[in-house]
Subunit: 473 residues, 2 copies
């Protein structure tokens, strides 16, 4: 049951082993697809709950749009179609008959939603319109597939809003990006950097794209959520326009934004260790496990009773593992599955009216009186949540390195990995050259102002900004 791979030695195999053995996923007979097992789906439901609340506060309503998109729809916005068509899966048969027009399985839903929006929006009274859907998405990706991080079917939410002005749409883009930062940091203990994508990396069809980006332990960046200002681009094509209060007619401004089940993969990579899964307590399906330690049947009864006494005072989720396995087996099992807190109760503990409490994140054990155990555990769960975030934040900060010269850039990306902060002239050729020579792309141009004068790391001309570069998932 123990892991065969080590996080620091063979990271990729270690990750595959963790997600499989911790029962987060299983493979499907269809290559590139996967089963999201209950332990992982529980995390997804927590993400849904968190974001649904944020969305509701912002006036967003949930809905559901069809999976099928006619080819003609997808082709309407040329840049959008170029961006997605290489990855589209097509339905060509229904029942035993060939379809008249082949149907795309949605790789994203702008086109089908905005066609509807053009009917639903007619007056300034209908704005803003803010709709979100939770659904499956199909992208027939040929890049390296990896559970949660890159699969041909995945789950996500996509929000699509319509506004009367550019300014309102700009605000919406940032409001949602803040929700993404919150879900990553507050729920998943995964620190992110917020910023702008470069032209080359933006969403096909958008005016600009913002993103939250995080760093994985192997030094690769992970895009955790994106929020796009679409301008009036799609509105023009689909005819999303509205009558103004004074009787005029205007094209609407639109945004779209999404976050997916890849968040689960990022969280697992970030926190887990050589013993298996480590879960932030806020998303752990089981937060506390009790392991009674006994030899005789009589002691079994006594220790189980003590477990129940403590457990019943808890307001979190818990389980008393009274199965016929050895304590050692149980320790390994629940560590592998990522239960944040383990409570051991043996005869010595009973004699002292105490319990032994082990935390999953650090492995530390502490003896606590039975009476105070429930309060201790409640606080410990908070501490673990906080510790996971702080550890990850420290890692992110320590692995964000500023460089001036391209030679140094190449050395760091090879040897140290992580984010590289470097000046950029804003020219797409330099960005492309850096990508070709190092495999690193501009992940984000951070929102945080940084007035230091710099030179472009590639061409040495004056820099316009200082993006974070990295290799990425």
């Amino acid at each position: 049951m123990a892991l065969e791979n080590r996080k620091t030695e063979n990271f990729s195999e270690w990750y595959l082993e963790v997600v499989k053995k911790a029962e987060l996923m299983d493979y499907s007979p269809v290559q590139g697809c996967m089963i999201i097992r209950p332990r992982a789906y529980f995390v997804w439901e927590k993400i849904q709950g968190f974001l649904n609340q944020k969305f509701a506060e912002d006036g967003v309503q949930n809905a559901y749009f069809p999976l099928f998109i006619p080819q003609s729809f997808l082709e309407k916005e040329a840049e959008h179609f170029r961006g997605f068509s290489p990855e589209v899966a097509w339905v060509t048969m229904g029942g035993n008959e060939a379809l008249g027009e082949k149907l795309a399985l949605r790789p994203t839903s702008e086109t089908v939603m905005y066609d509807a929006y053009s009917r639903w929006v007619s007056s300034h009274r209908d704005l803003p319109l803010k709709i979100n859907q939770w659904c499956n998405i199909i992208r027939w990706d040929t890049k390296a597939l990896k559970p949660f991080l890159r699969t041909r079917e995945f789950l996500w939410q996509e929000g699509h809003t319509v506004h009367a002005t550019r300014e309102e749409a700009d605000v919406e883009v940032r409001t949602v990006l803040n929700s993404y930062k919150a879900v990553c940091e507050e729920l998943l203990a995964m620190p992110v950097v917020q910023g702008l994508k470069s032209e080359a990396e933006k969403f096909p069809g958008a005016e600009y794209t913002t993103a939250v980006e995080t760093l994985m332990p192997d030094g690769k960046a992970l895009q955790a959520g994106t929020s796009h200002q679409l301008g009036q681009n799609f509105a023009k094509i689909f005819g999303v326009e509205f009558k103004t209060a004074d009787g005029g007619k205007k094209l609407a401004w639109q945004t779209s934004w999404g976050a997916s089940t890849r968040l689960i993969g990022g969280m697992v990579m970030l926190h887990s260790d050589d013993k298996g899964l480590v879960l932030p307590p806020k998303v752990a399906p089981l937060q506390v496990v009790f392991v009674p330690i006994y030899k005789t049947e009589e002691d079994r009864g006594l220790t189980l009773k003590a477990c129940s006494r403590v457990a019943k005072k808890l307001s979190c989720s818990w389980l008393v593992d009274d199965s016929d396995r050895t304590p050692g087996w149980k320790f390994n099992e629940w560590e592998l599955k990522g239960v944040p807190v383990r409570v051991e109760i043996g005869l010595k503990d009973l004699a002292k009216q105490s319990v032994t409490i082990a935390r999953r994140d650090t492995g530390e054990k502490e003896e606590v009186t039975e009476e105070k155990a429930h309060q201790f555990i409640a606080k410990l769960l908070e501490k673990i949540q906080e510790n996971l975030f702080n550890k990850a934040k420290k890692f992110l900060d320590e692995n964000t390195r500023e460089v001036q010269k391209f030679a140094e850039f190449k050395r760091v990306i090879e040897e140290e990995k992580g984010f590289i902060k470097a000046g950029w002239c804003g020219n797409a050729q330099c960005e492309e050259a850096v990508k070709e020579e190092t495999g690193a792309t501009i992940r984000v141009i951070p929102f945080e102002e940084d007035e230091t004068p710099r030179k472009c790391v590639y061409c040495d001309r004056p820099a316009k900004n200082a993006p974070l570069f990295a290799r990425s998932y």
Copy 2:
């Protein structure tokens, strides 16, 4: 904005008008698919919440399985394949390349789930295994399509459980069927009959199928949820077996069960009227609307203030409609959209320190003192929920007619419609003949014992039971 069709005159057109104008749905460019708009999706989220709680109490966990099913999987269970293959949509291209094996879009997920179950179940310790998923389902139906009731893509939940014994599986089938009854009756105010399906009407591959069946105002039956005992049929094919405590090996027993967004369509048909949508308060996105009635700007201020005073004491969802429309326009609008309670506040009301409260289900108005308004409204919402159920139950009971002779059967199905209770010898030929000659099928053989000796309505031989026959959606 008013409806052009009448419920009693042209039911089918009336229904289409209600779901469209009340903004529950919109059509998609792909025939047979539809958009579930926020007002309807809200109802779906209430259904999800209700069932998720019931499922959790039963130890069911949520998960997600792939949309794609290889053709070879679907073919493994012959009866299952025969049942579904005429309706399967096939993906044959990914990106710009033809796929090696064409992939079915799930018409149901037994095959892909039980392949996984065969890996997950190995010991009696792994049982029972109870997993549910909320997902989209594709059936390329060629029968008459109707929003919510029959679409080529719909949303549902499908639960799939594994048990050590037949008895446990039998219990599971009934436990879930009770949850379906509860969600229909307690949440959607839609009374149902529980019972067994005939062999001809059971799920392809099941040992037996149970269902909750309800009656629509046009006298057609609607299947609202099904729960199947699969026996060991799929377990045999997919190899779902477990080691017993004494070291032996046994095939598992399985169940599957599902309920879909068609529940929303049934609820709308059942309760709505010629003014538009009628919603049970428990699933209404907006439960109370306030309409201030004024002529001058000063009176506007006064009436709006009074609206706020009452609204703020409510613990349900509410909206003060302060838009620049006339009160009459607002009355129509919110009646069309199915808001259960309307509160009118005009100058006369202000003078008397009272408010006028109108209920959507009966149209009755009542004057209530401002002070007691919030309590009155809270009770009224409960009363409306109850009234809708009682009215529907009365309709169901009055439209369930017992007949002895086939001539009478034919007359009733033509002239009165509804459920016909009649004796049946249990023979599939009689069932088929009734269907051919009248269009009515056996909807359920009710669980409620009925010991009256009867003769088969078709062949006059002694009856084995007394099913409910009806034409159906």
